[in-house]
Symmetry: C2
Subunit: 499 residues, 2 copies
């Protein structure tokens, strides 16, 4: 891997650097686009994907674990920027990026620099019990990283190891704040303290979280209780009897179906209201409402700002908290740093879990959600400072390179391209939609969608799926027009062949 | 931080190296003990702990999160081997090691070497969605790390990010295998597939996990449902109505109370049997039994091999799986690599979660616990290959240096020392117990225990707590007699002052 030094970071659409090695990069003029120089120009395909080496490794991996989800074995040393390499020598434009979890692309020079910075070494080789013994630079790092991009109005943050844990502990914060309000400032009773140890009321109260059909929040028991996507995620696991509301099924493009969509959102909000009342009557009041800002795993389903405003109103009317899950939508891809900034909420959401592109899990929360006792939100690691050392570099690049704006500009460009293609293939594609570089389009059925994905992959574009028959696009934040052009070109070619 | 090169690894009780820098290490003879040379000779205390710098940082951290659990801010660059440094210039012998999660001590040269190895760089800067796109070296790394230390008879492993997630997904494996057995080879029905999405039976069946009083398994909803330690862990969170059996309350030393302890264990096993029958009758059969091998957070409570054999028998009689949680007890500290190897079980446990000293989370499991469909045990990251790159170095040192045996030898030495001290202070100490270097002793009450901990800390020995009034010791695997001597000396001094 070549050592590259960061030269200038002043562009809206990507970083720029001077390559020290290999020699072929050395002639780069100041200001010449990075990716143009150091990234491959195009995908390069040697075999079908998965190729023979991937298939052999898959066989070996299957000896020690169920591995049916593996698509191919990657070569992360050779992957670069927006391109992922595999062990069979293929190089694909990556429009899925590890389920939307690669912020700047592979082997970004600034991230490598942070990894090699001697001041970060101790964080990588000595993982602390962060809630007990944080390092001396932890506070400053929290300020420079997580707090520097905190959602407006949220001044508390708690790190966690992954997305599911972040949702789980965010739920705990909501349960605690609900019970605290109910106690009106009194401490817990002896009966509560004793009964909770046996999983019994009143200490373990009968409380619910309201969630949405097709919502996805993770796969541990609490996160899974509010997840309603595919049976494969949920079958065989006991689950609490919590209310599940319909999420609006909007028609796209949104501006052509304003009235129908408003009606649909009203219907869903009324359902939320009804469910809250029903569960209250059942003696299992709703302590919190959980929604993604865009339902990703469930099919890239959008709802309007006005829907989320309404949802927040309902939460407030009922004394419940509102969690907006930004695990997949946070960190700039939607054209705002947090997707919920698009919603113009009257006050901040109460809890905002994050992970994926943020490299560390965690959740932001309001003062009201802050536990009043220690060890309530806790575990051994509660995150990983080494991920924050990398995040520091990532956020620096996002800010200096204007990558949040880039997501908007390139996202619009991509969306227009997708609409064009949809117009060319109306029998195959429908419902093109997107926000920033989050983009999706529906196919007639899963088989057609999967065939398109496979054909694209074999031509060098790696895309994802969601919902039942949706193609899901999740590029890096450094994507440029030329990448979009390559994707659109190959997508169009595949659809032509399919016809 | 000095760069040190590994010279010889041939001792039972610690590694040996030649120091390249600073100059003061350069004269070390071949074979001279590492820790003797490179570690501090003794604790060095400048202030009380937490000192003024820690207190200032704590104030700042509290601005962004509830931080009451923080004990001090550490200086991980200056920490070395068995000594942890803090920001106030104090250097403490660490007998707690980040809640038992530091295998070799701080800044171990071999771990630093793995961190700096260019072949590992890609794993640190490109975190994959491991279940979809593992790297080409993943299979080999799995073999060299996790599979090379797999518990006897368990040939499957699934990585996860942390201990709680490992327990949660281990529980899911038990629920799935239970339902699979019930279906007798048939696939799930349409009704099951649809109802599970709404958290309803039959897809989300009414099944339980049996767990133990004072057991601790984590703080996400599924792990917390089988955790029964302190109210602070559980209060305000809804919990499933699952059976909770008594864990044996044994009297120590075990060999002096054989008959009483046998009786107590029989009582608890009978209770398990009764609870299983009761829940079966309730229509909520027990799909799995969960226990730690040693109850750590709950007070370092031991049970005999015969108890665990009985527990496995009951599980098998009832068609339930057995999970033995080794998150805190695994990775060599008990004098066996896995604590359950002490139990001579007739067949392997079904699920063994790990984390902490293993650096990555995960769980081993039998073939029967392997999901038959993909994406059942899954999330975006499912672990972190960079942790496995470090684990590779850790396991290499453990094996070459015989650190599992070291735990036994030094553990016995420490236990004898503790028994001596207990004999000197019978009014203050009781119940000294241990397995390998896992060791604990009871104080009359929490206040006395906490006072001892504080006094020890201010003299340079950092120890932990568990249960209601127990002092918990969790040194690294590289601990030597001289460390134990320093600890015992300071412990004895503190108890004398207390008298």
């Amino acid at each position: 891997m070549a050592t590259r030094t960061l030269l200038r970071i002043d562009s809206r659409c990507g970083w720029r650097w001077r390559a020290a090695l290999p020699v072929s990069y050395a002639g780069l003029a100041r200001g010449q686009s990075t990716t143009a120089a150091a990234e491959p120009q195009r995908p390069e395909m040697k075999t079908e994907v998965p190729g023979p080496k991937s298939l052999q490794l898959l066989k070996e991996l299957s000896a020690v674990q169920e591995s049916g989800a593996v698509q191919f074995f990657a070569d992360y040393e050779r992957s670069f920027g927006n391109y992922i390499a595999d062990v069979d020598g293929n190089l694909m434009l990556d429009m899925y990026t590890q389920i939307a979890s690669v912020p700047l692309g592979y082997n970004h020079p600034r991230v490598i620099q942070a990894f090699k910075d001697p001041k970060n070494q101790a964080a990588f080789v000595n993982r602390p019990a962060l809630g007990l013994f944080p390092s001396g630079d932890h506070v400053q790092r929290m300020r420079q990283t997580l707090m520097s991009v905190a959602p407006p109005g949220l001044s508390n943050v708690q790190t966690m190891a992954c997305g599911a844990c972040s949702v789980e502990h965010g739920q705990k914060a909501m349960f605690m704040s609900y019970q605290r309000r109910k106690r009106g400032g009194e401490g817990p009773s002896k009966e509560e303290m004793e009964s909770c140890l046996k999983n019994q009321a009143p200490g373990a109260p009968n409380l619910a979280i309201l969630s949405f059909k097709d919502g996805f929040h993770g796969r541990t028991m609490g996160a899974l209780a509010v997840t309603h996507t595919k049976w494969i995620h949920k079958l065989d696991f006991p689950a609490p009897d919590w209310p599940v509301a319909d999420f609006p099924k909007l028609r796209y493009p949104l501006d052509q179906f304003t009235r129908e969509n408003e009606q649909e959102e009203r219907r869903c909000l009324n359902m939320v209201r009804d469910l809250m009342a029903t569960w209250e009557k059942k003696g299992c009041p709703v302590a919190g409402i959980v929604s993604e800002t865009v339902q990703c795993e469930g099919g890239d389903n959008y709802a309007s700002a006005s829907f989320f405003q309404g949802l927040q109103d309902i939460a407030k009317e009922n004394g419940a908290s509102l969690m907006l899950d930004e695990v997949q939508t946070g960190c700039g891809a939607t054209g705002k740093f947090w997707a919920h900034e698009h919603f113009n909420l009257r006050s901040p959401p109460d809890v905002v879990p994050f992970a994926k592109k943020m490299l560390t899990g965690g959740f932001y929360h309001s003062d009201e959600q802050r536990p009043t006792e220690s060890f309530r939100i806790f575990n051994t690691w509660v995150g990983d400072p080494s991920k924050m050392a990398l995040l520091e570099a990532v956020l620096e690049v996002i800010k200096k390179d204007g990558l949040v704006d880039n997501s908007k500009v390139i996202g619009d460009y991509m969306l227009n391209g997708l609409l064009d293609i949809q117009n060319s293939f109306p029998a195959i594609l429908s419902g093109v939609r997107g926000l920033g570089t989050l983009a999706a389009v529906d196919c007639p059925d899963a088989a057609t969608r999967d065939k398109i994905i496979t054909l694209m992959k074999n031509k060098g574009v790696h895309a994802g799926t969601c919902g039942t028959a949706t193609l899901r696009l999740r590029p890096t934040l450094t994507i440029q027009r030329k990448h979009v052009d390559i994707f659109l070109d190959i997508f169009r070619g595949v659809l032509k062949d399919l016809k």
